[in-house]
């Protein structure tokens, strides 16, 4: 089974986010980055499928030079090789433009399965996998917690809202977007980290892929959300704040 996992490097969860001078994006200098969480689950699902059925896991990502460590992390966890679409201005593209780049890199690989996380922790659009499927003319399913390979193709467990689930059968090749929590994530071993240094990372430029990535949706401005609710902040030492809170809950909100 040849599996391509599309991953994204995103600002670390606890990173202090600042808006850039133009007010059109975030200030990237000094930011710490990490592998997008649901993409880590997509990688884990791919590695487990490979362990069961054999084959190859290829990670694919688009981004500037700084995505290097994230690619190495995926290789250290067990991916066999990587394709890096070198793209300095990823944030100027829309979801369709990014997916067009990814699709152009996936096509010549002819994978049996394409996995990606259900959404990115930065933009949170949750569209890349679905668009990719359409561009590659493949069937897809989203919010997948578990993948079984069958003789006819794939059987997957899909999460629905409010604690419901559904099983979906679909032919392979297919594109699946993976929900977090389906597996336990592995850590890279020392041996894995060592091996990753010699694994192939093929760099292609966005220009080489020759796709039309002109946006049809433009992010014009980013801003801090306006406070709409007046939240009473209780200050002081933990003990003082806790006492003040209990007082408020008892006599003001009357919920204690």
């Amino acid at each position: 089974m040849k599996i391509i996992v599309a991953i994204k490097q995103v600002p670390e969860r606890d990173a202090q986010i600042r808006i850039d001078a133009a007010g059109k994006w975030i200030e990237e200098s000094g930011l710490q980055y990490a592998l997008n969480e649901s993409d880590a689950y997509a990688l884990e699902e791919a590695l487990q499928l490979k362990e069961k059925h054999g084959g190859e896991v290829v990670v694919l990502t688009a981004g500037p030079e700084r995505v290097g460590p994230t690619i190495r992390e995926a290789l250290a966890k067990g991916a066999d090789r990587a394709i890096h679409i070198d793209c300095a201005d990823l944030n100027k593209l829309d979801a369709l433009g990014v997916a067009r780049l990814l699709a152009a890199a996936v096509k010549p690989e002819n994978p049996d399965l394409v996995l990606t996380g259900l959404q990115s922790d930065d933009l949170g659009q949750g569209q890349t996998g679905v668009i990719l499927a359409e561009l590659l003319s493949l069937p897809h399913s989203t919010l997948i917690l578990h993948v079984d390979k069958t003789d006819a193709g794939l059987t997957v467990k899909r999460e629905l809202e409010e604690g419901w689930f559904q099983t979906i059968e679909l032919p392979a090749p297919a594109v699946l977007t993976i929900q977090s929590g389906g597996n336990k994530l592995r850590y890279a071993t020392l041996m894995g980290i060592k091996r990753a240094k010699t694994k192939e990372v093929r760099v292609v430029t966005a220009a080489e892929l020759a796709v039309d990535a002109a946006p049809v949706v433009v992010l014009e401005r980013v801003a801090l959300p306006q406070k709409q609710k007046s939240t009473q902040m209780l200050t002081g030492s933990p003990k003082e704040a806790a006492a003040a809170l209990v007082e408020k809950l008892k006599f003001e909100a009357r919920v204690l």
């Binding site: 919010l143 604690g163 419901w164 049809v216 433009v218 209780l234 806790a242 209990v246």
Partner: protein, 322 residues
């Protein structure tokens, strides 16, 4: 047709709450754009839902009916709407931002060379659409620049269902051409996960715990507070993903929806998926080390601080007050 088109979603044979909110959003857009508004209902039997929608201020409600639309599939819904758009050419298409919509609208938009502006929280003149970035820490303003229909999905709770204006719409039927072979996925009936033994929906007091707890070894601190309050323990998604608490304790769009008198969120940043699940809470308290965490926006009372210090202090204060 041109104008604004709202795509209605059914839940158990009736129009879903999120769809009424999408109608309210569509009416806002129709006013800004000065255009008429229509709605479609998709399925094998849509009479009931169409009749419900026709009670709103819409020019037309179209029943897109086909036996192969009985169960939702991305292929079936995409084909049906693609054919309908080709015939009616809407300028804007508005959806509720549900799991189902997330599953097929990016595909539909791609087929028409467009991109969905998803999970929209506000619509302003332009039109310019606001959606959240960075887990709710920032807002982004998006403008469509494409030539085809503009696809928008609206976040649950961002528009008020009861603001959808009443009226009386004409109902018509559209029959798409779909063949079984074009539908590549075979969905099963939906089923529940493990038996639900915790009904957070009925709990009057809930203590919710998130990533800020750092380690499963710290959970007893939270349990002690819950016990002192006589509260149920709930969690944000990551805590259940890590296996620290059972999935049935998850609060949010993929877990349980709660409506307690008191909800205390500990170390929960406040991603929208969690916030939609706690909207019905009467009083929300947030305790978090990050003063900019979006959870504070949803809270009545807040404490910025270290859970390891604030939670034991709060447990003591609750005990002392009893």
């Amino acid at each position: 047709m041109s104008g604004i088109l709202v795509v209605i979603e059914e839940r158990d044979g009736h129009v879903s709450r999120a769809s009424w909110e999408a109608i309210a959003a569509g009416q806002k857009l129709a006013t800004l754009a000065g255009q008429p508004m229509n709605a479609v209902v998709l399925g094998a039997k849509t009479e009931q839902s169409a009749a419900e929608v026709a009670s709103k201020a819409l020019a037309k409600v179209v029943r897109i009916e086909h036996p192969l639309l009985a169960a939702y599939t991305a292929d079936g819904f995409t084909l049906a709407l693609q054919q309908f758009f080709a015939a009616e050419k809407p300028d804007y298409v508005v959806f509720p931002h549900t799991y189902q919509v997330r599953d097929y609208t990016p595909k539909l938009a791609t087929r028409l060379g467009q991109a969905l502006i998803g999970d929209v929280t506000a619509i302003a003149d332009g039109p310019v659409f606001t959606r959240q970035l960075m887990q709710g820490r920032l807002n982004g303003s998006y403008r469509p620049t494409g030539s085809g229909p503009c696809f928008v999905s609206v976040q649950a709770g961002a528009f008020r269902a009861d603001e959808a204006q009443s009226g009386s719409a004409q109902i018509t039927v559209f029959t798409p051409a779909i063949e079984l072979a074009q539908i590549r996925t075979r969905p099963s009936e939906r089923f529940r996960g493990a038996a639900q033994t915790v009904d957070l929906g009925a709990a009057q007091r809930i203590v919710g715990v998130g990533r800020g707890i750092k380690d499963a070894a710290n959970l007893p601190l939270v349990q002690e507070l819950a016990t002192a309050l006589g509260a149920e323990l709930g969690a944000s998604r990551p805590i259940c993903d890590f296996g620290w608490l059972a999935m049935e304790r998850q609060i949010g769009s993929s877990g349980q929806t709660i409506a307690p008198k008191l909800y205390i969120a500990l170390g929960i940043s406040g991603a929208i998926q969690h916030l939609v699940g706690i909207k019905g809470s009467q009083c929300v308290v947030a305790i978090n080390k990050d003063p900019d965490a979006p959870i504070f926006e949803a809270a009545d009372y807040g404490i910025v601080g270290d859970l390891m210090e604030v939670v034991p202090a709060l447990t003591e204060a609750v005990k002392a007050a009893q």
